[in-house]
Symmetry: C2
Subunit: 230 residues, 2 copies
């Protein structure tokens, strides 16, 4: 998985480590240590950290070690609301502008996810799920929208990952994917908006459940994603 530039490759690896939980929320990311650990110099590591910061996975603090972001439930829901608005727009535009080929490709992705669901690594399924949504966004033919949507998908990756591991309502997710694809094939704007709304609503419910469950462990989530002992 080598990218164009070292920094991007490092960002990719760092991202996976964060999402996997090797670097837990709140953990400091010391430039020197991490750079050495990955066998690169500080310069691209710095840049990688900035990339993740822009994605919202890492929090920069002036003159302090950056830390892995630890968003509260409220913050995550706020982000999902924005994602929701972006996906509504993308659904609307896709119904209007998507080519038949693009719609077919989206259907293929849906089928592929359905096939590997349960047997593949959760992270891999997740990348596919992201591709599914990104394909819809791409079909809306709006570069700015695609870019911003991608940023939010990355930013919410961890929350989605954690919530999806609970295997709740997997069938529902597959059904919703199917419904979204069907609405798109019919170019039915109202229907696709409704389905996207349901999909995102389910996502919020899942994540809320995860947080409620986790709160039993005593890991308090403050409103601002506060500090946490290292």
């Amino acid at each position: 998985m080598t990218e164009d530039t070292l920094a991007e490759a490092i960002a990719y690896e760092l991202r996976r480590e964060i999402l996997r939980g090797n670097l837990p929320p709140g953990a400091p990311i010391k430039e020197r240590d991490n750079a050495e650990r990955q066998g690169v110099s500080r310069t691209p590591m710095r840049e990688a950290i900035r990339i993740l910061a822009k994605e919202g996975l890492v929090q920069l603090r002036p003159l302090r070690s950056p830390v892995v972001a630890n968003p509260s439930l409220a913050e995550i829901i706020d982000q999902i609301r924005v994602l929701h608005a972006l996906e509504l727009l993308s659904g609307e535009l896709a119904c209007e502008k998507a080519s038949d080929d693009e719609i077919a490709a989206i259907g293929a992705l849906k089928d592929r996810i359905e096939t590997i669901y349960g047997e593949a690594d959760t992270l891999d399924v997740f990348e596919l799920d992201m591709q599914f949504h990104s394909a819809i966004v791409a079909a809306s033919h709006n570069a700015a929208l695609a870019e911003t949507h991608g940023a939010y998908m990355a930013r919410l990756w961890r929350a989605r990952y954690l919530s999806a591991r609970r295997k709740l309502s997997r069938e529902r997710v597959l059904r919703q994917h199917k419904a979204i694809h069907a609405a798109l094939a019919l170019r039915d704007v109202a229907a696709i908006k409704a389905e996207i709304g349901a999909h995102l609503g389910a996502m919020i419910a899942n994540i809320r459940d995860h947080f409620l469950e986790q709160d039993g462990d005593g890991a308090a989530q403050t409103a601002t994603g506060e500090d946490r002992p290292e």
Copy 2:
């Protein structure tokens, strides 16, 4: 205007140079030259360029000089569509969550704009207009939304600036501001959405006019914001 870090300060300066037109769209930003010109080393200059790239003002190309972004009309309209979706959400949330004080402050901003319109520098009016919209977004109490909206406002700064200098439909802008504030005071979601739609629609019309007018000068705008001789 010194920021926390050198890179931010440089980014601020670079941004103003770009928006003012000292660095015209399509111009390459050579790390060495610009670093020397501002009297700093390449490291913070690189970071500043990345910041502007993330804001969409600069376009990064692998192994090539970054260039000042030169968005086509189509790209700008795409961006405004996203901004529109974000503002619709912010209007909806603001109606639900804004405090009376916040609404009053928004009204004050509207009045202030009305007062200085025509007599003050376009740039100043512009800052106020941005504050007006940002205040609405802030009143929606959604940090992620505020952040993304701010990014789009910055990204569209130049287009808005260029289009607003044409003094077309200033009365209409003021009327729309008043209508938006009124809808917000009444917490009328449907009304505020309609008004925001009208406001953004007018913005698109203005910018389209500007482009049509400019096209007469022979400065062709390709669909992808292509190269341009240095």
